[in-house]
């Protein structure tokens, strides 16, 4: 059979899934780092990880900046979505929120450690946490609004990205807590509860993803076929087994799951899953339309 096709390059590659993962993790790290000032009570047990938690947020944002510049080709381009703000584009909102979120991290650190402005801590914790969690939300929306890509155009995409960020951010804080020697029962219980809830939600959303791909439109089924044929290891081993089932098993029994080593192990595994599921979703949304 003679064919003369024209080939196309899928517009979004691995740098986007890395960015989605990192920025989501930064958001949840900030939320947990500021929780002692926001909620008090048992969350006071997390106070020792406050400064490193904020530092993680800032460092990760700092890593994301060159990643975005590399992706866009020029540093100044990052400002264009703010200067020429287009309200129907999630990317425009995301650019504004990213700048405000960074300001909140810096502002909270200043208010806490340099400015002695305790009156600002709670407002900055609330606004910054909302902005931080809006990071994964906007990245999910950025995919969801592409209504012509059926794999992406589902309302649970931003929900899933937010839940994945909650698990990866919590995992990062659990690692910091272990390194800083913060292994008190309250801290472990809080981190365990959040991680278990987010991984369990991911499990439910993953099943939803599988069912919707299996029984969806032709394009969705094609996406499913591509995932299984070319990305089987990523979706089944790294996402489902290592990223979801393994941490779920490790955390299922609270007495075992609250041990620092188990918590970190489950956290790292869930981070692998949180990255991989984004990667496979990014792929599954683009490859079905590559040749047409």
């Amino acid at each position: 059979m003679f064919e003369y096709s024209w080939y196309h390059i899928a517009p979004w590659g691995a740098e986007l899934s890395v960015y989605f993962f990192l920025i989501g993790m930064a958001g949840m790290s900030y939320a947990l780092a500021t929780a002692p000032d926001l909620f008090g009570g048992k969350f006071e047990s997390l106070r020792a990880i406050q400064t490193p938690g904020l530092a993680v947020g800032l460092i990760v944002v700092g890593v994301c900046a060159p990643l975005l510049i590399m992706d866009l080709g020029q540093p100044g381009r990052f400002l264009y979505p703010i200067i020429y703000f287009h309200w129907t584009s999630p990317l425009s909102w995301g650019s504004v929120f990213l700048v405000l979120f960074t300001a909140c991290i810096a502002g909270f650190y200043w208010a806490k450690n340099m400015g002695n402005r305790n009156d600002l801590l709670k407002p900055l914790a609330i606004v910054g946490s909302l902005l931080g969690l809006s990071m994964p939300l906007y990245t999910g929306l950025d995919l969801m609004v592409n209504t012509t890509r059926e794999v992406w155009a589902t309302p649970w995409m931003p929900v899933m990205f937010t839940v994945l960020s909650i698990s990866s951010g919590t995992a990062m804080i659990a690692i910091i807590a272990k390194v800083r020697g913060v292994t008190n029962a309250d801290a472990m219980a809080i981190l365990h509860t959040i991680l278990l809830a987010s991984v369990a939600t991911t499990f439910a959303l993953f099943l939803g993803l599988v069912v919707s791909l299996l029984y969806g439109s032709g394009e969705m089924q094609q996406g499913w076929e591509i995932l299984n044929s070319q990305y089987g290891t990523q979706i089944w081993l790294l996402t489902f087994v290592i990223g979801i089932l393994l941490p779920l098993g490790m955390l299922a029994l609270p007495a075992v799951g609250r041990q620092p080593t188990m918590l970190i192990g489950a956290g790292v595994a869930s981070m692998v899953g949180a990255f991989m599921v984004r990667e496979v979703l990014l792929v599954a949304g683009q490859l079905p339309q590559l040749y047409y």
Binding site: Y4, I9, A10, P11, L72, G73, P81, W87, G285, Q289
Partner: protein
């Protein structure tokens, strides 16, 4: 005003033009003159295209037929690329064109992700003559020619008169008459983009080309070679 667009659809609006193209698939002979004319008009670099013609042999010997499928931006009336653009670099013109402002484009490729027709590409940075690079580009329906009373370069050069261009709002225009009297179809109507490139007599087998990956050995080898030049990946690997 349509949400997120800079201009309302002009089809059927009195006193306004709505430029559209009709592609008569019965006439296309796959000479690629339209592709060459477009390349020449805009100095379109190697590896990317504003317009293409897909070729595929259908059937089994001796009952075979070679089908051609000209493709270009569909200048949709509900363009997802425009709505999703974070800088309004791509915008809807009041006469129906979907155009691109290079000075605003940040090459985020959101428009490429949004387009169901693969009608957009990133221009490489290292171009020798035209210095526009590192931005997303697409077919403009040759707005610069049309606004000066000419037809698009691909239409001008089409030797079989496969491509017919005109104002859909003008009752005397050829495109209006063809759309009104012939069995026309648009690509991927289920996506809700309201495309404005109409195809005359597309059979199911032709439109099926839109959802079938390359099958022949030659086409697969071509694909491998193409992606090998993109760092071996099917995904965008940085502004070229």
């Amino acid at each position: 005003m349509a949400i997120g667009l800079q201009a309302d659809p002009s089809e059927g609006v009195a006193g306004k033009k709505r430029w559209a193209m009709v592609v008569d698939l019965r006439r296309c002979i796959g000479c690629m003159a339209c592709v060459a004319a477009c390349k020449a008009e805009y100095d379109v670099p190697l590896g990317v295209w504003r317009t293409t013609v897909k070729v595929k042999d259908l059937g089994q010997y001796p009952n075979t037929k070679r089908q051609f499928m000209p493709r270009l931006c569909n200048h949709c009336d509900n363009p997802p690329c425009v709505r999703n653009c974070p800088t309004e670099a791509t915008y809807k013109h009041e006469e129906g064109y979907v155009l691109q402002r290079y000075e605003r484009c940040i090459a985020c490729r959101t428009c490429m992700a949004a387009c169901p027709y693969n009608a957009r590409h990133v221009l490489p940075n290292n171009r020798s003559r035209v210095k526009i690079g590192g931005v997303v580009d697409k077919c403009t329906f040759c707005e610069h020619r049309v606004s000066n009373g000419l037809v698009p370069a691909c239409v001008q050069t089409c030797l079989g008169r496969t491509r017919i261009f005109g104002d859909l709002n003008d009752p005397n225009s050829e495109v209006r008459k063809l759309v009104a009297t012939k069995a026309v179809a648009v690509l991927k109507p289920e996506k809700g983009t309201k495309p404005q490139v109409y195809y005359i007599q597309p059979t199911q087998k032709i439109t099926d080309q839109l959802s079938s990956p390359p099958a022949s050995y030659a086409a697969k080898a071509d694909a491998e070679a193409f992606y090998r030049h993109n760092k071996g990946r099917q995904f965008f690997g940085g502004v070229l």
